[in-house]
């Protein structure tokens, strides 16, 4: 039998010991790989084969490849691709909010006794494999597909349109379709947390339903809106597969496509890694914001 002193010391080390294997795993296979991107981006390249030669010591890091990529951004195609990515993500995430807010609002406030049913229904797309959802749209948008059938039948289009031939609107709508479910969940959680009596109070004090929404519900759901937007923007910034499936043209290429092309060619790993670092710089702000707001919410929940 263990004495109290022994039990105490055991307790002190028990919990870190529990966490250790998982943390070690994340250090080795999340943090170290992350460092590997930097080591490749700041490393050298084989002069003949162009393969990457990572440099692991930060004191010897060489910004040469960075300069090359920066040059490509300011004078070449890469700058256009970065701007296009920002534009697509901005439009797609705003559209997602416009679609997602009414749905989240309805389920949180007006679904009544059927709330469970609605929750199951809005959670379902979340768990339908992403590639399955994109496959569905590739089928629908083919030149002989249902979308063209319907649009030509009702007379919107005179003849079938090549939706999959490099159209920005197809890609943006594909992104919206792909990521809206992820926005609805945090938004629903935020709207559902709002104390109904605050809205009732506004109504009792003479506010119209619309003013009560504008001055009470909307400000109280701000956290949810921002969290939801960040949650969809992060994967959109790194997306390349939606784009590749819905458009086979370089006209709609995004940063993710560049990374994919460089990394999966035998001689572009250094550039690929460098663009990945730049992408991380862009989304880093969003990630920091999200982590801080999650930490704050957890603290409040525990208190």
């Amino acid at each position: 039998m263990s004495g109290t002193g022994e039990a105490y010391s055991r307790r002190r080390w028990t919990w870190p010991a529990f966490a250790a294997p998982g943390l070690l795993w994340l250090i080795l296979l999340f943090l170290v790989p992350f460092y590997a991107i930097l080591a490749v981006a700041m490393g050298h390249r084989d002069p003949i084969f162009n393969t990457a030669e990572p440099v692991w010591n930060p004191a010897q890091w060489d910004p040469g490849i960075f300069g090359e990529v920066a040059n490509e951004i300011f004078t070449g195609q890469l700058g256009v691709i970065f701007l296009r990515t920002v534009a697509y993500v901005a439009i797609a995430s705003l559209l997602s909010l416009i679609v997602g807010y009414p749905v989240a609002y309805f389920v949180a406030r007006h679904s009544g006794k059927r709330k469970l049913l609605y929750l199951v229904l809005i959670l379902t797309p979340f768990w339908i494999p992403y590639l399955m959802r994109m496959l569905a749209w590739v089928n629908l948008l083919e030149s002989s597909g249902y979308i063209n059938d319907i649009l030509t039948f009702i007379g919107v289009l005179a003849e079938p349109r090549d939706w999959l031939g490099g159209r920005s609107e197809t890609v943006v709508l594909g992104l919206v379709y792909g990521y809206v479910p992820f926005l609805i969940l945090p938004l629903f959680a935020a709207l559902d947390r709002i104390d109904q009596s605050t809205i009732q109070a506004a109504r009792d004090l003479g506010a119209s339903p619309f003013r009560a929404f504008l001055h009470v519900t909307l400000p109280l759901s701000r956290q949810g809106i921002l969290a939801g937007l960040v949650i969809v923007m992060l994967p959109m910034f790194g997306d390349y597969y939606t784009n590749n499936l819905l458009s086979k043209s370089p006209r709609t290429r995004m940063v993710g496509n560049e990374i994919d092309l460089f990394i999966n060619s035998n001689s572009g790993e250094s550039q690929g890694a460098t663009i990945t670092v730049l992408l991380m710089g862009m989304v880093g702000v969003l990630m920091a914001y999200y982590l801080i707001s999650v930490a704050r919410a957890t603290r409040e929940a525990r208190a």
């Binding site: 992350f34 009414p102 309805f106 007006h110 959670l123 339908i128 399955m132 002989s144 999650v294």
Partner: protein
């Protein structure tokens, strides 16, 4: 003879369907009505395309856009092109299941232990450890894919690209989800039960084994199911870490197939993937519901799943 007094007089009963229809025509954009219609349109938009894709997996003919009658041709019957008879499709199914089972079996224990550790640990390093756990949840997958690819090619060269690398990658992003699920339960259970057990003479490990783990059991089963679903749905990590053709998973096979040679067999394969994913998530939901009941709490498990921040 008695009068049924529980029945309200006709004049104040709920409006009839006809009255409701007239009110709707008079003001179709009344707030909840507009929202109801909007929500149903959204749900239809989300689900109908997928159902159509499922349907074409059962098409008699080769078309993915015109219905030619029902058959199992693309599942079993076609001697060359069906999921069962095309080696590349069958191999993808096999690879996906292999990765999902492997991921589930390793990520769940690691994640459960990490969740218990992080929830109880009050040391100085606990906070950065918590942040490290959250990071994989929000890092864009392409960044994780590239980083794992580079680390296996240039640093941990013992690990070859292919199945081993894919399993390791899947486990890495799954651990954090397991932690989130289990941590929610741990906060709800609180430290009281364990402390009571220790007051009654149990050692900390006994308290953990005999009190906490049984209470966590449903959440652990749910985590297994969620880990399975996350792994089988994953595309990006499998894509960056695949090697030869036999390491293609269902999602990566769908991706290359859609780009090069679409066929209803891909719809059939995607439908199988969908079935596995839905089955796993249903299990997770049922286990979470059981775990809530055990704590005697109100609300539904689905609500919980929806609240699961990230």
């Amino acid at each position: 003879m008695s009068v049924d007094v529980s029945r309200p007089p006709e004049s104040i009963s709920a409006p009839t369907a006809w009255q409701r229809l007239r009110a709707w025509i008079a003001n179709p954009w009344g707030r909840p009505r507009f929202l109801t219609v909007f929500t149903w349109l959204y749900i239809t938009w989300c689900i109908i395309p997928v159902l159509i894709a499922v349907q074409f997996g059962f098409n008699e003919g080769r078309s993915r856009t015109a219905w030619q009658g029902f058959s199992f041709r693309w599942y079993f019957d076609d001697p060359d092109l069906s999921v069962w008879n095309d080696p590349s499709l069958r191999q993808a199914l096999y690879q996906s299941l292999k990765l999902a089972v492997g991921t589930m079996l390793v990520a769940t224990p690691l994640g459960v232990a990490l969740a218990i550790g992080l929830a109880r640990w009050r040391g100085r390093a606990a906070k950065p450890a918590n942040f490290l756990m959250l990071f994989p949840l929000i890092t864009p997958e392409i960044v994780m894919g590239v980083s794992l690819f580079l680390v296996f090619v240039y640093l941990f060269q013992v690990v070859q690209l292919g199945t081993t690398a894919q399993v390791l990658g899947h486990i890495t992003f799954t651990i954090s989800y397991v932690v989130i699920v289990v941590r929610g339960r741990l906060f709800a259970i609180g430290p009281d039960y364990e402390e009571a057990a220790m007051d009654l003479g149990a050692s900390p490990t006994q308290a953990l084994r005999l009190v906490l783990l049984p209470m966590l059991a449903p959440a652990i089963w749910a985590s297994l199911a969620i880990a399975f679903a996350l792994s089988i749905d994953d595309f990006v990590i499998s894509y960056f870490l695949r090697a030869e053709a036999s390491t293609e998973t269902i999602p990566t096979r769908l991706y290359s197939g859609l780009r090069l040679a679409p066929s209803p067999a891909l719809n059939a394969l995607a439908t199988i993937l969908l079935a596995f994913s839905m089955l796993a998530v249903t299990f997770a939901g049922l286990f979470l519901r059981r775990s809530r009941r055990r704590e005697g709490r109100k609300g539904s498990a689905v609500e919980e799943l929806a609240r699961l921040d990230i």
